[in-house]
């Protein structure tokens, strides 16, 4: 062979080696960067000396061989706005959270927290966590670190200025449901001491259902979570327990193993409906008609519990007369559920005992939903499925809310007689509009705590306008949320591990303690300390703060809690440090005594109070919600799709979705759309789409799904605008028919390919 060829070959091979090295280096480096970025950043961002050099000494990411023998283990409980409110154990090593274990003493959550609970291991140490007071730079969207001293000076100067010029009620004190705890009350104690403020009424989450239940049964309580294992027919009506209340699945599975039937009613085919025997997919907002048609079938065929009705039910005859108008045929037309399946539902409820109906929260976020919920409760009332094991209405169990002087939903309502100090005038559901409309005095400042109203309250665009019309905005948060981005001053918020507090729950009946197990990192201060320092800055004396705002030490916070626990001798912090405790007076089978604290003492299918308080029909009548494709209004023609903005396992509203641990399951928002609807619009899977109506728009990618009811599209709520956009650009600032809830789901949109 001739030499030139061989030289050529050698040249090729050596250039290949060079190329190979280059690619190795490139891929190697980028992989390296990706993987260590997080942890290195923690070290560089946080002054190691200030947090006791925790990370350096522990060496996060080290192999297991050097594992210390016994880490201290603490009992705690997750304080998020979530059904499960899990108890768990946390291992702390040299002041750093290391591991999480289940806490079997909470019978409702014996197997441990969900993925979000586990992700606290990252959340507490996230490099994105806010660790210092931050002030927005002038004419910029960026923030700069300032000292607590300057931050407190600035706030004191601002709030005193607004108070002097416009009165204290020019300041809006806004709190969300970000974290539970008795110490949350300290905030309002401060503002009262300050001289007053403006605040909100109503609630984003669940008032229509609470009010419907209160009007009908007299009280919001239900059987203990584990009792559902005794049910023979379980109807999850608009609830996706597998994602939003995973611990309930333990007991639903147990019921199924014992031969129970599971029916899911939901426009979506969900993780929960996967294990059901029947999935009924009604048109959103039409559930009331479905319930009334089932009631009519039961009544007409004499398949009701007349003995129970005569003893415990008020207004049955009127109800029966009203329901008689809802033939299966008529309901089928309204609900899109075929007659056959309406009959099937009635048959199952008639033939199977006991029946538990568990309604989710989404279904009661329509403008007709208080009545819808009342109609569904009626099904249990007329069949006698209340007050018995395995039977009943599961919506909210407030039996552990023993510390509340006034229980929800009454606590949400504006006071009948204003006290002259705190103005309760802003509807949570209409936050943006009411903020802009406030007069005498107009709003000059907002203080946001435990909440992220920019993405989580309806009508984001109006809220943004209202925020930007203010003079000063303080946000207390752990992360730079979309609301925090609107702030002039951000104060770093504690996590659940950095201050002790006592929490209740709304699904299970336990009182639990979330213990302080680590020192707050950086310059984080619990809110109670922020208020204490601010009060001192304003010149209040310790005597004036006594009993209202605890001091700076852990002992001060503990004695505040002990004061709250005092009326309940069975609840001591020492016991709570090792185990959750069932709320005193807890009824395992709710209403087993058939005591219904309604005006009549009976289950009220006919509610005079509904009429008096809400101007509603005393009977649970059905009417179309404000936005409906069936009412022939222009809206429906322009915007023919129901926008379902459900919750997901991957977040609690807007919390957790910023963490790497969680982002591996969902990295960006995507719109679930039925292929039929997609085809009509020329959309194929993974196309980017624009979702819009008169209120706003967002642009995300589409995912085709054969399980969703055609005519509905769905995107879970909680996404940050900075990560793709909140669903609330499109939702209306509108109240539910009862309870001052937010009718998020009266939300018609159109979708187009972009």
């Amino acid at each position: 062979m001739n030499d030139p060829l061989v030289f050529e070959l050698v040249a090729i091979s050596s250039s290949v080696i060079i190329f190979q090295r280059k690619t190795c280096r490139r891929f190697g480096k980028s992989c390296y960067n990706r993987s260590i970025q997080g942890r290195e950043k923690i070290l560089s961002q946080q002054d190691a000396s200030e947090i006791g050099g925790l990370f350096l000494s522990v060496g996060f990411g080290k192999k297991l061989d050097g594992r210390p023998k016994q880490m201290p283990v603490y009992t705690t409980a997750c304080p998020r706005n979530c059904y499960s409110t899990c108890a768990f154990k946390v291992h702390v090593e040299n002041g750093v959270l290391r591991k999480i274990d289940p806490h079997p003493a909470n019978k409702a959550t014996p197997e441990g927290p969900c993925l979000k609970g586990l992700s606290y291991i990252e959340r507490v140490y996230s490099p994105d966590r806010i660790l210092y007071p931050l002030r927005k730079k002038q004419n910029s969207a960026d923030f700069e670190r300032i000292s607590w001293e300057s931050a407190l000076n600035l706030i004191a100067e601002k709030i005193t200025g607004f108070k002097n010029e416009f009165g204290p009620r020019s300041i809006l004190y806004y709190t969300g449901s970000g974290t539970k705890g008795l110490l949350n009350a300290v905030g309002m104690n401060f503002w009262r001491l300050f001289g007053g403020c403006t605040t909100t009424y109503g609630d984003l989450c669940w008032p229509a259902g609470l009010e419907a239940t209160r009007l009908t049964l007299g009280e919001n309580k239900h059987n203990a979570p584990w009792d559902i294992a005794n049910a023979k027919l379980i109807i999850l009506w608009g609830k996706n327990a597998a994602e939003t209340n995973i611990h309930q699945m333990l007991y639903i599975n147990r019921a199924l193993d014992n031969g129970a039937k599971l029916i899911v009613i939901d426009p979506r085919r969900t993780e929960t409906s996967e294990r059901a025997q029947l999935l009924v997919q009604p048109r959103p907002g039409s559930d009331g008609a479905l319930a009334l048609a089932i009631a009519r079938l039961l009544i007409q065929n004499g398949q009701i519990n007349t003995d129970f009705i005569s003893r415990h039910v008020l207004g049955f005859d009127e109800f029966a007369k009203m329901a008689a108008g809802f033939t299966a045929e008529k309901a089928a037309e309204i609900t899109d559920v075929p007659v056959k399946y309406i009959q099937r539902l009635a048959d199952e409820i008639r033939t199977i005992r006991p029946v538990t109906i568990n309604a989710g929260f989404g279904m009661q976020r329509y403008t007709n939903s208080g009545q819808t919920m009342r109609a569904i409760i009626a099904l249990l009332a007329i069949t006698g499925n209340i007050g018995k094991p395995g039977a009943g209405w599961i919506f909210a169990n407030l039996q552990s809310h023993i510390f509340d002087a006034v229980k929800d939903p009454i606590a949400f309502y504006p006071p009948e007689k204003p006290d002259g100090t705190v103005r309760v005038s802003i509807s949570t559901a209409k936050l943006g509009r009411d903020m802009l409309a406030a007069k005498d005095p107009p709003l000059k400042m907002i203080w946001v705590e435990r909440g992220n109203p920019v993405t989580q309250n309806p009508d984001t665009n109006t809220i943004l306008r209202a925020f930007r019309a203010l003079n000063f905005c303080v946000v207390v948060d752990q992360f730079l949320t979309d609301t925090a981005r609107e702030a002039d001053l951000i104060l770093p918020a504690k996590t659940m591990f950095e201050q002790s507090d006592v929490i209740s729950a709304y699904w299970h009946p336990y009182i639990q303690l979330k213990q302080k197990v680590i020192e707050p990192p950086g310059e984080v201060r619990p809110e109670s300390q922020i208020y204490y320092l601010l009060a001192k800055q304003l010149g209040f004396t310790d005597e004036e703060l006594t009993g209202k705002i605890p001091g700076l030490s852990d002992a001060d916070a503990i004695s505040y809690l002990e004061k709250e626990l005092k009326p309940f001798p069975e609840l001591t912090l020492d016991t709570l440090k090792t185990t959750p405790i069932l709320a005193p007076g807890h009824q395992e089978i709710a209403f087993a005594d058939f005591v219904f604290p309604t005006p009549s003492g009976k289950i009220e299918l006919f509610s005079g109070e509904a009429q008096k308080r809400w101007g509603a029909d005393p009977l649970p009548v059905f009417f179309e919600p404000a936005e409906s494709v069936r009412d022939g209004k222009n809206t429906a023609q322009e915007y023919p799709l129901y926008f379902l903005t459900s919750n997901t396992k991957n977040s609690i509203h807007s919390q957790f979705s910023n963490l790497k641990m969680i982002r591996q399951f969902a990295s960006e928002p995507s719109l679930t759309i039925h292929p039929q609807d997609a085809k009509k619009r020329g959309i194929s899977g993974k196309d980017r789409v624009r979702i819009f109506n008169d209120r706003g728009e967002l642009k995300i990618k589409a995912v085709l799904d054969y399980g969703i009811k055609p005519g509905c599209v769905s995107l879970c709520n909680g996404w940050w605008i900075s990560r793709g956009g909140t669903v609330n650009f499109c939702s209306p600032g509108r109240e539910t028919d009862m309870g001052y809830g937010a009718a998020f789901h009266d939300n018609l949109v159109e979708v187009e390919r972009i």
Partner: protein
């Protein structure tokens, strides 16, 4: 491989109870102090798009700690062992060379490459917890008790589950299939005829990426060239320059190193010559170079030496093809990108034997076409541009140039056939049918 004394433990997974929440993934991540977002356990979903005719369920898989684990069997560095107390298949991080061969051998994709350490990592059954009599973290933290831990064979209801590859390697996992009352719910909305059909959202994807396997593709191709080159010298006495050959050989060896995550442990590659074709391949390569050097430097002569040179070259190439045949679960035995055939082609080229050259090319063309026309059988994918280039550059131009053979065209012939072979080899890598849970789900959805 299975020691009867092994008290085999296993994960027990109940498809009825898993909601796909992912807590097990995070539990693993936290317990083993992995990077946030990394885990040795993964959850796979059957029927992501909710096709009405199919159930939807999840499979949470880590390592199945097989009774006859191919990772252990084929690991060239003998870095794996099976724990006698629990049956756990354990990878010794101090012995691993990061060659990723175990990840190819595992149909469940359990061993994962960590680019940071250059080593493979996998589930250990949380052996440190088992030692303290605590269940693995993923089991302890499953909120629905879908994931449990127990003796292998203890679960009566365990059978196969769609999406879980059936193999001969005896995976020690007990999978509880969906019970009759928990499969597909009855729907109140009857889906239109058109959407009764089942179309998986994604087509099967090879877990082999060309970006990360460049060194292997080049190493195997260059080795075939080396064997062809020396064989031509041995059989036909073609001229060969020992220095150039040695340089080329050393380069090839260096390229092979590029594939190892832990290059300093390269010597371990040959330790498992009894079971691993990879060890055999790597052991034969220096032997082949040595014999070639002896031949070229005329240290010894004669037919016996020549035979040994040829034999070592051919066996080296056979071993190389075996490496891929063993792990790919593929039906491809003789195929156009096999290194034996490639070696033969270059032999004919270097020996300037036109008839042999054209015959080999023709055989390769037939095999290549056969592979491409039997997409279904070989699961091959069509890359039109690559195929056209491969055929023109690799099959048609070289014979034409050979016909008008001149010293100047030799370089071009070489470049053309090298291009053709390189493309074929790349396509072969992409088509290697290494099962993964994702691909098994796609297959089973189509066949369900």
């Amino acid at each position: 491989m299975l020691n009867n004394r092994v008290n085999q433990k296993s994960f027990i997974f109940d498809t009825n109870k898993c909601t796909g929440c992912g807590a097990c993934i995070l539990a693993c991540s936290i317990e083993n102090e992995l990077e946030f977002g990394a885990s040795r356990r993964r959850v796979f979903t059957f029927n992501e798009a909710h096709y009405p005719a199919l159930p939807r369920f999840h499979l949470s898989l880590a390592c199945n700690h097989c009774l006859d684990p191919p990772c252990l069997k084929y690991c060239p560095a003998r870095a794996y062992h099976k724990d006698e107390q629990t049956g756990a298949v354990i990878l010794d991080q101090d012995k691993c060379i990061g060659c990723k061969y175990c990840s190819w051998a595992c149909p469940y994709d359990a061993p994962q490459f960590n680019p940071l350490s250059g080593l493979m990592e996998k589930c250990t059954f949380c052996e440190h917890r088992l030692a303290e009599n605590i269940e693995p973290a993923c089991v302890e933290l499953c909120p629905t008790t879908a994931l449990r831990f127990g003796d292998y064979g203890s679960e009566k209801n365990s059978t196969g589950v769609p999406g879980f590859t059936k193999t001969e390697i005896k995976p020690a996992i007990q999978l509880i299939p969906l019970q009759e009352n928990r499969t597909v719910p009855e729907f109140s909305l009857q889906p239109a005829e058109a959407i009764q059909k089942k179309i998986p959202q994604s087509s099967p994807v090879s877990k082999i990426r060309l970006q990360s396997e460049w060194s292997l593709i080049l190493f195997t191709l260059l080795t075939a060239i080396l064997v062809g080159w020396i064989s031509a010298a041995v059989v036909y006495g073609s001229r060969i320059d020992p220095v150039q050959f040695a340089g080329f050989g050393a380069g090839t060896l260096l390229i092979s190193l590029g594939h190892l995550g832990k290059k300093s442990r390269a010597y371990r590659t040959i330790l498992n010559w009894r079971h691993s074709w990879l060890s055999r391949e790597i052991s034969l390569f220096p032997l082949f170079l040595f014999l070639s050097a002896v031949f070229m430097l005329r240290i010894a002569e004669g037919h016996i030496l020549k035979s040994f040179v040829l034999l070592s070259g051919v066996v080296l190439l056979v071993a190389m093809d075996k490496v891929y045949e063993t792990v790919s679960f593929s039906r491809l035995r003789l195929h156009s990108a096999g290194t034996v055939l490639t070696g033969f082609l270059f032999f004919a080229y270097f020996a300037a034997q036109q008839n042999i050259f054209i015959s080999v090319l023709f055989l390769k063309l037939v095999l290549y076409a056969g592979r491409k026309f039997n997409v279904e059988l070989y699961r091959s994918k069509i890359h039109p541009l690559a195929s056209v280039t491969r055929i023109i550059a690799g099959f048609f131009l070289p014979p034409v140039l050979f016909h008008y053979f001149s010293p100047g065209s030799a370089v071009f012939i070489f470049l053309f056939i090298t291009t053709g072979e390189l493309l074929d080899r790349c396509e072969f890598f992409l088509e290697m049918n290494i099962p993964t849970p994702q691909n098994q789900i796609v297959t089973d959805m189509l066949n369900d």
